[in-house]
C-alpha cells in the first residue's frame, strides 16, 4: 500500500492516473494518515506533501520517525514549496521533488524501486 498525503484534489486525481495499478490510500491530513498506518504492515512508500491540512508534512515526518515500526518506511516529498537541495539528506527521505519541475518518470522510478 502506498500512502499519499495530499490535500489538493487535482493532484490526487493525477496520482490516481499515473500510479494506476498500485494500491493507494489518500489522506488530506497527517493525523489521519498516521492513525491509519498499521504497525504490523506499514505502507511500502509514503508520498508526502509539505503544506497539508493541519500539521505540516515535516511534522508528520518527525512523528513517523518517532515510532520504531515506521522509522524505515521510505518517504518521498512532493511539494510546491521551494526546498533546499539538501532536504532529502537532512530529513532522511528517499527523494524530494518540486511539483513545478518534477517529471512523472521521477516519481515512477521511486515507486518502482520501493513499492
Amino acid at each position: 500500500m502506498i500512502f499519499v498525503l495530499e490535500d489538493d484534489c487535482g493532484w490526487e486525481s493525477y496520482y490516481r492516473r499515473l500510479l494506476k495499478g498500485q494500491e493507494l490510500a489518500f489522506f488530506h491530513d497527517g493525523i489521519a494518515a498516521i492513525a491509519a498506518m498499521d504497525f504490523d504492515e506499514p505502507p511500502r512508500l509514503v508520498i508526502l506533501d509539505v503544506l497539508l491540512t493541519g500539521p505540516t508534512g515535516f511534522a508528520v515526518l518527525n512523528e513517523m520517525r518517532s515510532y520504531p515500526q515506521l522509522m524505515d518506511v521510505p518517504v518521498v516529498i512532493v511539494s510546491s514549496v521551494s526546498l533546499p537541495d539538501d532536504i532529502a539528506e537532512k530529513y532522511g527521505v528517499v527523494a524530494a521533488f518540486d511539483k513545478g519541475s518534477m517529471r512523472p518518470s521521477d516519481l515512477l522510478e521511486i515507486v518502482g524501486r520501493y513499492a
Binding site: 489538493d8 487535482g10 493532484w11 493525477y14 492516473r17 499515473l18 491540512t53 510546491s80 512523472p104
Partner: protein, 224 residues
C-alpha cells in the same frame, strides 16, 4: 507570509498540475485516457485563468467599472455549476444547488457575484469529499437573498474569522490549518462583496464552515 508569496503559491499550484498532466500524456495507453487528461488540463487552466481575471478585476474596482444591476441569483448559481461540474467530476466530488428562495432579483453585479460564488464552491471542493458533496443553498432572509456554500474543512482561524466578521479580508494570507485555500479565494470574495455593498460572512460549524453573501432584493420583478 507576505501576501505576494501567498498569491504566487496559489497560482503555482494549477500551473504545476497542468505541466504534470501534460507530461503524463506519454504514459496514457488509450486515446480515451489521453482525452480525459486533456479535459483535466483545460479545466485546470480555466481555474487558473479565472483566478488571474479576478485579481485583475480587483485592481480595477477603484475605476468603478462594474455597474450594479438587477441580477437573478439562480441564473448566476446555474452558470457557476455549469462551469465547475467537470472540475468537480475530475476531482471525484459533487456539487448541487438547493433553491429555497422566491424568484426575486437581487441588486449586484453579475460578473462579481459569479466570482464570489465560484470561489466559495472551489473552497468547498477542497474541503469536501466523496461522501461530503458540496451544496449551494439560495434562500430568502427578509429583504435579502442569501447564497450560502458549506464546506467540511478545518475551523477557520480566529484572525480570519474576525476579519470576515468585520466585513473585509484585508489581504490574502496563508491560513495554517487550510493550506489548500491560502485565503486568496476568500480575499477575492470579500473584495467583490464589499464593492457590491453586500454582506459577506461565515457560519462556523463543528465540522466545517458555511460562507455566505447576503444580497439586497431588487425592486424589479423577475420575469423568469
Amino acid at each position: 507570509m507576505e501576501s505576494e508569496v501567498v498569491v504566487a503559491h496559489e497560482l503555482k499550484a494549477p500551473l504545476s498540475l497542468m505541466r504534470q498532466l501534460a507530461l503524463s500524456l506519454d504514459y496514457e495507453e488509450s486515446l480515451e485516457g489521453a482525452r480525459e487528461v486533456g479535459k483535466q488540463i483545460v479545466a485546470t487552466s480555466d481555474r487558473a485563468i479565472r483566478q488571474v481575471n479576478d485579481l485583475t478585476k480587483i485592481a480595477r474596482l477603484d475605476e468603478a467599472l462594474f455597474e450594479m444591476e438587477p441580477v437573478n441569483p439562480r441564473a448566476v448559481c446555474d452558470e457557476v455549476v455549469n462551469e465547475l461540474w467537470q472540475w468537480f467530476k475530475f476531482n471525484r466530488r459533487e456539487l448541487s444547488i438547493d433553491y429555497r428562495n422566491k424568484r426575486r432579483l437581487a441588486v449586484a453585479n453579475t460578473q462579481l457575484l459569479h466570482s464570489v460564488v465560484y470561489n466559495f464552491c472551489l473552497n468547498a471542493m477542497n474541503y469536501g469529499g466523496e461522501e461530503l458533496p458540496s451544496e449551494i443553498a439560495v434562500y430568502d432572509r427578509g429583504a435579502k437573498i442569501r447564497i450560502e456554500v458549506r464546506d467540511f474543512g478545518p475551523t477557520i482561524p480566529t484572525k480570519i474569522w474576525r476579519e470576515i466578521k468585520d466585513g473585509f479580508v484585508k489581504k490574502p494570507v496563508a491560513t495554517p490549518m487550510r493550506p489548500g485555500s491560502s485565503g486568496l479565494g476568500l480575499y477575492i470574495a470579500s473584495r467583490f462583496s464589499s464593492y457590491m455593498h453586500s454582506d459577506f460572512g461565515l457560519i462556523r460549524h463543528r465540522d466545517g464552515t458555511s460562507f455566505y453573501i447576503d444580497l439586497p432584493v431588487s425592486g424589479q420583478l423577475s420575469f423568469l
